[in-house]
């Protein structure tokens, strides 16, 4: 049994709670216990960073303090939570002045920044392993032609050795191939989806997410797989953003695991772009005995 501290983040409590459910279901299947941080709080995402850097560090430090108390490595499925928490942990561990500042703000909590922060691609590859992933496949996913979309925050973290190739990450591609998905290579793995400009300047998200979806269609893929809740939401909202294009379903990585292991997605109804064609395209692996 493997145990990890778990920081779901605000998106996985509201807009993308089905991502949380899917991830927990898949992790439980592999015997990975996710121990949710007790009374975790928002990392402030990019908003707090824009307003005040000290605030951004201290908000992340609160969750780091909670995780240090647990003694386990910390997993953050949301790319913004992951990037902010990882950046803060390094800065707190390396810089005495930052450590003093955040601990003064956090009191009575305290932290020293010595914690491993992982994204879910790392958890799948390092804690479960590609062989077990391939062995757990009960449904043939070859009819699913997908692109892996990492978004910008997962690998572009300044001052941190990235968990994958910065310009051409492969972790999710490798996992998807092990699950039997037909993975289509494309050039937009880390291109920006428009991030939070959806509210303040929706045209920008429409343009950037629209460009991504057009590239997916051109590549011959029928679906996008991602781990970032904001990327998923922006791409899923494309028809509401005024772009006159054919939308494509956007799945969270654990949902592909659900398809491979259980043959259906628990949060399917929560997708704005229907995923029915994807679910209907698959069948049990021939001769597979469970």
């Amino acid at each position: 049994m493997i145990a990890l501290s778990y920081y779901p983040g605000c998106s996985l409590r509201s807009s993308s709670d089905f991502y949380d459910i899917s991830l927990k279901k898949v992790m439980a299947y592999y015997g990975v216990a996710l121990k949710e941080l007790d009374d975790w709080s928002c990392c402030g995402a990019l908003a707090a960073l824009m307003v005040n850097e000290g605030l951004s560090l201290a908000l992340s430090a609160r969750n780091i303090a909670l995780a240090e108390g647990s003694g386990f490595h910390l997993v953050a499925p949301c790319s913004a939570c992951y990037a902010r928490t990882k950046t803060a942990a390094r800065k707190i561990a390396e810089d005495k002045e930052t450590r003093r500042m955040v601990n003064d703000a956090l009191s009575p909590l305290s932290c020293n920044g010595n914690i491993e922060v992982k994204n879910i691609i790392e958890v799948f590859l390092e804690y479960i392993g590609i062989e077990r992933i391939a062995d757990s496949v009960s449904y043939d996913l070859a009819p699913i032609h997908a692109v892996a979309y990492y978004g910008c925050l997962l690998t572009r973290i300044m001052g941190i050795s990235p968990s994958d190739d910065i310009e051409d990450p492969m972790g999710m591609d490798i996992i998807l191939k092990a699950l039997g998905v037909t993975v289509i290579p494309w050039q937009y793995k880390t291109e920006c989806c428009g991030a939070s400009s959806t509210i303040t300047n929706g045209d920008v998200t429409a343009k950037l997410s629209g460009r991504l979806i057009k590239a997916v269609v051109r590549s011959g893929a029928q679906t996008i797989v991602t781990t970032c809740p904001l990327c998923q939401l922006n791409l899923d909202l494309i028809t509401y953003l005024g772009e006159d294009i054919q939308p494509v379903p956007v799945l969270f990585l654990p949902e592909i695991f659900e398809l491979a292991i259980f043959g259906k997605i628990s949060g399917g109804a929560r997708h704005i772009v229907s995923i029915r064609d994807i679910e209907q395209a698959i069948a049990p692996v021939k001769g597979h005995v469970r």
Partner: protein, 177 residues
């Protein structure tokens, strides 16, 4: 009017060696927002070096940045351009030169939401933002679509120890009540 100390002020404040820039354009070439900018990233850096403080701080382009950090990771001189943009945004608000205020307003509302709940309450924040801009009906079709699919939470989630959150925000000088 160029200001002699703008470059050293920026370098001291950020610890980033802005003067290492040799204008290779890599930051601008990879920037997904460059076409929406009046002054593109490598020019912003160039203007910092030549001391064009007012021109930089009043640039609308600062607010087009999406913080994707493509510029920062690609800079051959290790200049964290995205962080420079973040710092410039704060300076432009403080100096009253900001070309627009709506993004700062939205970010501030998000921090206030964290102060109130400890978690981000998206619906409340978006509603407050739309109300303050008198554009309550903007993108309502998207809002209804999201509510139907439960892609936006109707009610806030509250952290139990909200006093701790408020104290963090107060002590770090962030906004919040």
């Amino acid at each position: 009017m160029p200001e002699r100390f703008f470059l050293s002020e920026m370098e001291e404040m950020t610890g980033i060696a802005v003067s290492e820039c040799y204008q290779c354009f890599r930051c601008t070439n990879g920037c997904p927002a460059a076409r929406d900018m009046d002054i593109v990233p490598h020019r912003i850096i160039g203007y910092i070096i030549s001391g064009e403080r007012e021109c930089v701080l009043s640039s609308a382009g600062l607010w087009a940045c999406l913080q994707c950090a493509a510029c920062s990771i690609r800079c051959p001189n290790g200049i964290d351009v995205a962080r420079i943009f973040t710092v410039l945004r704060r300076m432009s608000v403080e100096s009253g030169l900001a070309a627009q205020t709506n993004i700062h307003e939205f970010d501030t509302l998000m921090v206030e939401s964290i102060a109130r709940h400890g978690h981000m309450y998206e619906l409340g924040t978006v509603m407050r933002y739309r109300l303050s801009r008198r554009e309550l009906l903007k993108s309502y079709r998207m809002g209804i679509g999201m509510i139907k699919k439960r892609r936006i939470g109707l009610f806030p989630h509250n952290v139990a120890d909200r006093n701790n959150i408020r104290s963090i925000i107060k002590k770090t000088g962030g906004r919040g009540k």
